[in-house]
């Protein structure tokens, strides 16, 4: 049921749609937040026109209290689409929110011309402000959601990218670790290493930690777990790429690596692995 408040906002939008739209686009084009480099003018015009035409029926429903009601679904879907594309195009959050907020000025101008009574004008302005602010907030929220999904998918990719297991020689695997080791990554690393051991029948795995920036007790524990799991599968592990600072920290922390063969460089580890494999493997394999 349409209430008295917001009546004029509606009339303004119905009566002066063309003027409001023209004014709005003019303002957007003149604004400093315009990103001509990211978006064509045509696209902006189209988006503005679509939003205005969707806004009209939604306003006619007369429910301004919240955007939850079904009257706003279309507007919300449209805005979600806009902020998604803008998020991917590289717009800043402010620039995206400004798209909605900049509609205030043309509407307010029209309202001021329409209503002479100060009290009524204030009421109408309030309604318009509430609606547009909510829409702008919604847009920002959607924008952030888009960004978050991007971040999450990148994290996943990073996890997979950063745990390659390479076969250096027959029966010798290398696992160059890059980046900090947390529990989740250790799990992935362990699984891919063990899987590869089964696939290739490797007898020795070299875990190279040159790319691990810091080793604390937790990281050391994760490393030892990986070594223990590989040993259970019947493969020996060599840890290589231990930098001087890391050697110092390991000793200071009291981490016991005496059970594991450690080498300073991958080359040394590879040498010792070759020697062991030749000693172990029966000839002909």
């Amino acid at each position: 049921m349409p209430s008295a408040a917001g009546q004029t906002v509606r009339t303004v939008l119905v009566k002066y749609e063309k003027e409001v739209l023209a004014e709005w686009i003019r303002l957007q084009l003149a604004a400093t937040t315009l990103r001509g480099d990211l978006m064509k003018e045509n696209e902006l015009r189209e988006q503005s026109r679509d939003l205005l035409s969707l806004l009209r029926p939604a306003l006619e429903s007369g429910r301004f209290e919240s955007l939850e009601s079904s009257d706003w679904t279309q507007v919300k879907e449209f805005l979600a689409g806009v902020s998604r594309t803008r998020g991917q195009q590289g717009f800043a959050p402010t620039e995206t929110a400004t798209f909605v907020l900049s509609l205030k000025q043309p509407i307010f101008d029209r309202l001021r011309n329409e209503i002479k009574d100060a009290q009524a004008l204030a009421d109408e302005l309030w309604v318009a402000t509430v609606v547009l602010d909510r829409l702008a907030l919604f847009t920002t929220e959607q924008f952030l959601k888009t960004r978050e999904t991007v971040i999450q998918s990148q994290q996943r990719e990073l996890l997979e990218l950063s745990t390659p297991v390479v076969e250096l020689w027959e029966s010798i695997l290398a696992l160059p670790l890059i980046g900090t080791l947390d529990s989740e990554r250790t799990q992935v690393v362990m699984e891919s290493l063990l899987q590869k051991i089964v696939e290739t029948g490797a007898a020795i795995a070299i875990i190279d930690i040159t790319g691990v920036p810091t080793v604390d007790t937790l990281v050391a524990q994760h490393l030892l777990k990986t070594v223990a799991a590989a040993r259970l599968m019947g493969a020996d592990c060599i840890i290589s790429g231990i930098r001087p600072q890391i050697a110092q920290t390991i000793v200071h922390l009291g981490v016991d690596l005496s059970e594991v063969t450690t080498k300073a460089s991958l080359a040394d580890a590879f040498m010792i692995a070759m020697r062991r494999v030749q000693a172990k493997l029966p000839t002909g394999t």
Partner: protein
């Protein structure tokens, strides 16, 4: 009652676990195996657990107990064919089976046993 077969291969005993290990079965295996080691004067035990897909802490401890008992009876134990998931579970349970020798498959395990026994005789 089901039983885990213990096969004799020369001076070694071969145990292949092909069913889901439950506690009673593990205890039975422990008993049978120690008796067989003494009876045939086995020098080594090869335990193939490649079909074992589920382990708990009890089974994990049984494996290391069996290895310890065998070594008391002067037989080397090699556990072969552990599945990745089983290895991860055991490590997470804090059972890294120290003192148990492992190999990737039966072939490697046999080679390792031969080596160990040969080193003993030397």
């Amino acid at each position: 009652m089901e039983k885990i077969p213990i096969l004799r291969m020369g001076k070694f005993l071969l145990v292949t676990i092909q069913v889901d290990m439950h506690d009673r079965l593990a205890l039975q295996l422990q008993e049978d195996l120690t008796e067989r080691i003494v009876a045939v004067r086995a020098r080594g035990v090869l335990m193939d657990i490649s079909s074992l897909e589920v382990v708990d802490s009890f089974i994990g401890r049984m494996i290391s107990n069996i290895a310890a008992m065998a070594s008391v009876l002067d037989a080397q134990t090699v556990v072969v064919g552990m599945q990745p998931a089983v290895a991860i579970t055991l490590v997470e349970l804090g059972l890294s089976l120290e003192g148990v020798r492992t190999a990737l498959n039966v072939e490697r395990g046999m080679a390792l046993l031969n080596e160990l026994v040969a080193a003993e005789l030397r």
